[in-house]
């Protein structure tokens, strides 16, 4: 049984699915016999987390795991609790350990042909982006985006908000908001290109420099959503959690070369309130959760 924090996504042919919505019988992406495969979920249920977990941070993403749940590394599977113990306790205030790199499915160019096109998946993507950016202040509502130096937010207004002329209110601390509700009835019928869809996802982040964005570590829902869609679209990216001893910010960088062996950046004790127990129908398969290959 795999037990992970609830704020995570699995990948299905129709798009990333939040674990809250994953269900028995759903086919999700996994590594099986050394190859990508779709494996059915046998059981998926949320439970109150009854023990401290482990948060693993890598350049492909982060995930909270139960100590007894394993991840796939270049030297085999290893339990999250063991990763925590492998941290070098003598290097105080530093995040060092004798960790083997985590294995990931290749991010580039290996998108299964049976998966939906971006045009088919766009309504789902748009809904999830709106939900991740939504801020409700009683009667008022808005969509939080990162302040951007270029006109990328106009595309966001057109494609996600559904109103090209939607008013953008600038705030402080690198944020801006599109005020008011999105308007599904006016959303363009056609779908954007993959590049435009990715651009819309990254508008939820704060621009740092060309192809580099940042989010406070607290914005876990936006981070998990972005990673899930980039994985699903086979777009290479790299996440840098800083500082490693206890990340405060997550930086994402695009235009990087795809890698399948990813060094561990941080292993931290964490206390998820809700965990999801995931049982797969096939034995000896490693489902991809938040980009990380998990194992029983």
């Amino acid at each position: 049984m795999i037990s992970v924090g609830s704020n995570a996504f699995v990948l299905t042919p129709s798009g990333p699915v939040h674990l809250d919505e994953a269900a028995e019988g759903m086919e999700v992406l996994a590594l099986q016999g050394g190859k990508q495969a779709l494996v059915r979920i046998k059981e998926c249920r949320a439970v109150k987390a009854d023990q401290a977990g482990v948060r693993l941070c890598t350049s492909i993403g982060d995930l909270a795991l139960a100590p007894t749940t394993s991840v796939v590394t270049s030297s085999g599977t290893i339990q999250a609790g063991a990763l925590l113990e492998q941290r070098d306790q003598s290097a105080l205030g530093r995040m060092e350990g004798s960790w083997s790199p985590v294995e990931a499915l290749s991010q580039a160019g290996r998108r299964p042909p049976s998966w939906l096109s971006i045009a088919q998946a766009w309504p789902n993507l748009r809904t999830q982006v709106l939900a991740a950016g939504a801020v409700n202040w009683g009667p008022k509502q808005g969509t939080r985006v990162g302040a951007q130096p270029n006109d990328g937010l106009r595309d966001f207004a057109t494609w996600v908000i559904g109103r090209p002329s939607a008013e953008l209110v600038d705030g402080r601390a690198g944020w801006a908001w599109f005020m008011g509700a999105a308007t599904p009835s006016k959303v363009r019928q056609e779908a954007p290109s993959v590049d435009l869809a990715v651009s819309c996802l990254l508008r939820l982040w704060q621009w740092v420099e060309d192809r580099r964005y940042v989010l406070p570590i607290e914005c876990e829902a936006v981070r998990a959503l972005t990673i899930a869609w980039l994985q699903w679209l086979s777009i290479p990216y790299s996440i840098d959690f800083k500082p490693h001893y206890l990340p405060a910010d997550a930086f994402i960088e695009m235009n990087v070369s795809a890698r399948t062996h990813l060094p561990i950046q941080a292993v931290l004790s964490s206390t998820p309130r809700i965990a999801v127990r995931l049982v797969m129908q096939a034995r000896s398969c490693y489902p991809v959760v938040n980009g990380i290959l998990c194992a029983e």
Binding site: A91, G171, L246
Partner: protein, 194 residues
């Protein structure tokens, strides 16, 4: 072995002379420094003392301090903390954050920059309660002043105006509110974007 004066706690290797280096055989990394000490136990004791002094500084009254402020306050609380040991406190604070014995809280400064403050786990619980209460007020009224927040949040947090300002700054930092305070002045009001 006789301990040279000022060497009760481990010291930063680059802050002491060669005579002292020779007397301190155990080497470890602490934060950005290579530290040397008498024994493995001396490092453990140093970490323990920093944790105790930090708890004392942060709990009475409940405070949230930046890492440099906490570092200075801890150094003042500790006996025999030489100028060669003091730089190591920063790395030990980082270690205590990693272990969850100290907690971090993100906020926004008067000079328009995000920054983090440090507190104790028990105080962070109160801080999170204060954040939730302030956010509810913001949803109801469209704005929250520091005075309103001070009355709404747990009294342990409202004990200093700076604590309340940090709560307001947290909501700005996460994009849940905005503010119109002039640069360099305290955050006195947060609002829903208009």
């Amino acid at each position: 072995m006789k301990v040279p004066k000022g060497a009760r706690w481990p010291v930063a290797n680059n802050r002491v002379d060669s005579r002292l280096k020779a007397a301190l055989p155990v080497k470890r990394k602490i934060g950005m420094y290579v530290a040397i000490g008498e024994s493995d136990e001396s490092f453990d004791e140093f970490l323990d003392q920093v944790a105790r002094a930090g708890a004392h500084v942060l709990e009475e009254p409940p405070r949230l301090l930046t890492a440099p402020h906490l570092q200075n306050a801890i150094a003042l609380k500790m006996d025999h903390c030489s100028t060669a040991s003091k730089p190591l406190i920063e790395g030990l604070i980082q270690e205590l954050l990693t272990r969850g014995l100290f907690k971090r809280f993100a906020t926004f400064s008067r000079s328009d920059r995000p920054y983090n403050v440090i507190t104790l786990p028990a105080i962070l619980g109160l801080v999170q309660e204060a954040v939730a209460v302030t956010l509810r007020r913001l949803e109801e009224a469209g704005e929250v002043t520091a005075a309103v927040a001070a009355r709404a949040v747990p009294k342990e947090i409202a004990i200093t105006p700076l604590n309340v300002e940090l709560i307001l700054g947290h909501l700005v930092r996460l994009g849940l509110a905005t503010t119109d305070h002039p640069l360099g002045t305290p955050i006195q009001r947060i609002t829903v974007p208009a």
